[in-house]
């Protein structure tokens, strides 16, 4: 059902946890109860640190993990350009009915970047 990349990020999540001095945002998918939380530290317009916590299906956990890798050390403008499709592509694809996992990760990213100081 899932690609090797998805299973790798699910079984060995990267950047799990919390950035104590960062900005936090949380999103929930009401349809299935998946939750994602991102905490981000931005310095001089660059994402210096980003970590996640998540509850829910494999896709959501894997998407959050890979998203933190994609965003870490990137300028905020570049991070804002990340779409659901690019996350799914990085993961090597997701089953149709699991794409909401990637959508939740990207929605949480947008929310947390909106909350960071310019």
């Amino acid at each position: 059902m899932y690609s090797e990349r998805v299973m790798d990020h699910f079984e060995h999540p990267r950047n799990l946890g919390d950035v104590p001095e960062g900005v936090r945002a949380r999103c929930v998918n009401p349809a299935c109860g998946d939750e994602a939380e991102l905490s981000v530290l931005v310095r001089d317009g660059v994402v210096e640190d980003i970590r996640f916590r998540a509850v829910g299906c494999v896709a959501a956990l894997a998407a959050c993990s890979i998203l933190t890798e994609m965003v870490r050390s990137q300028p905020v403008e570049r991070a804002r350009e990340i779409t659901v499709e690019t996350v799914i592509e990085e993961l090597g694809g997701l089953p149709r009915n699991k794409r909401h996992g990637a959508a939740l990760a990207v929605e949480t990213l947008k929310k947390v970047l909106d909350g960071t100081p310019a």
Binding site: Y2, M7, F10, E11, P13, L16, D18, A31, C32, G33, D34, E35, E37, R53, A54, V55, G56, C57, V58, A59, A60, L61, P95, N97, K98, H100
Partner: protein, 327 residues
């Protein structure tokens, strides 16, 4: 089963056909005997789904059922009788016709009060069908109390793709599958001889799982999560829990990687993205639910190992969610 794969058609008149017919009738008598029924009361089907649909469409024009039935029932008849927080159904309104109530729930293992309900329904001139697919071989099923009963071979160690509907002698059933008139005109189609023979053998040999293993599993996981289903009126071999702080099918996937196959009623279960209708009817959030089924061959060591892995995986997933519920 092997000698009967690709055998002659049991409806044929020649010697090979007669031999196949004999095997079928022997299986029919065996199954009937195991269940306290007469051979004429056994109609072979392709499985539990077909048996359920045959009962619901072929016995009466008015049918009432519960909200926690298997999809093969609910896709034919919307459920109206509600359940409590344990998934145990209370009889609702009934104005004649057929009542269909499962013997035991497949998701949480709760036993339904089928005998008192059947007696009440029949005393009022109605008919009573039970989907006994999960229960055959595991709990007593007093056939004389019912008018129809569904069973499925693979649930008691038989092959997939074969089942039966028991229908009380003298009761007419409108066929779902018209055609060559097999099964006394009640279910047309060439009989699955190998499957039928296999199902009969499985039912004769079946031994229910050791109830003490289910109790062991329960007692070891009870501090970690919450048991779903009735605490006492339940199948001994199904143990179902919800765990705070984790969700989706992530627990099932993590356990599978460690050699334990389980299932979940969560929204993202299998290929559907709908939450369990059973857990919803019970008022439970389907997230973080886990169902473990024990078989007759399950050992104590396997149960102990499964417990250790569930504890480890729940702890790991709670760490990822930042959940502070202690393991």
């Amino acid at each position: 089963m092997l000698p009967w794969l690709g055998c002659a058609n049991p409806s044929s008149l020649h010697a090979l056909g007669r031999a196949a017919r004999e095997a079928v009738e022997e299986a029919r008598s065996s199954i009937a005997s195991c269940l306290g029924a007469r051979p004429e009361e056994v109609i072979f089907t392709s499985g539990g789904t077909e048996a359920n649909v045959l009962a619901l469409t072929g016995l009466a024009s008015r049918v009432v059922t519960s909200v926690v039935e298997h999809p093969s029932v609910l896709e034919s008849v919307p459920g109206t009788w509600a359940c409590d927080e344990y998934g145990r159904v209370s009889p609702g309104s009934f104005e004649g016709g057929l009542v269909s109530l499962q013997a035991a729930n497949n998701e949480v293992g709760t036993l339904q009060p089928i005998v008192p309900v059947a007696r009440e329904v029949r005393a009022r001139g109605g008919l009573f069908h039970t989907d006994a697919v999960q229960a055959v071989g595991k709990i007593p099923l007093p056939w004389r109390e019912f008018d129809a009963m569904s069973l499925s071979g693979h649930k008691f160690g038989g092959p997939q793709g074969v089942g039966a509907l028991l229908v009380r002698e003298g009761l007419e059933v409108r066929p779902l599958l018209p055609g060559g008139g097999q099964e006394d005109g009640r279910r047309s189609g060439t009989l699955n001889v190998a499957g039928i023979v296999g199902m009969a053998a499985a039912l004769r040999a079946y031994q229910a799982p050791d109830p003490s293993l289910g109790l062991l599993l329960r007692s070891r996981l009870e501090g970690l999560g919450e048991l779903t289903g009735h605490p006492t009126e339940r199948l001994p071999g199904i143990v179902s829990f919800t765990f705070e702080g984790i969700g989706g099918e992530s627990l099932v996937m993590l356990l599978e990687a460690r050699g334990v196959c389980a299932s979940t009623g969560a929204a993202c279960a299998s290929e559907k993205s709908r939450p369990s209708h059973v857990l919803r009817a019970m008022g439970r959030v389907a997230r973080g639910s886990l169902r473990l089924s024990l078989g007759p061959a399950t050992t104590r060591e396997e149960v102990e190992r499964a417990v250790d892995l569930v504890v480890e995986c729940v702890g790991e997933l709670r760490r990822r969610s930042g959940c502070t519920v202690s393991a």
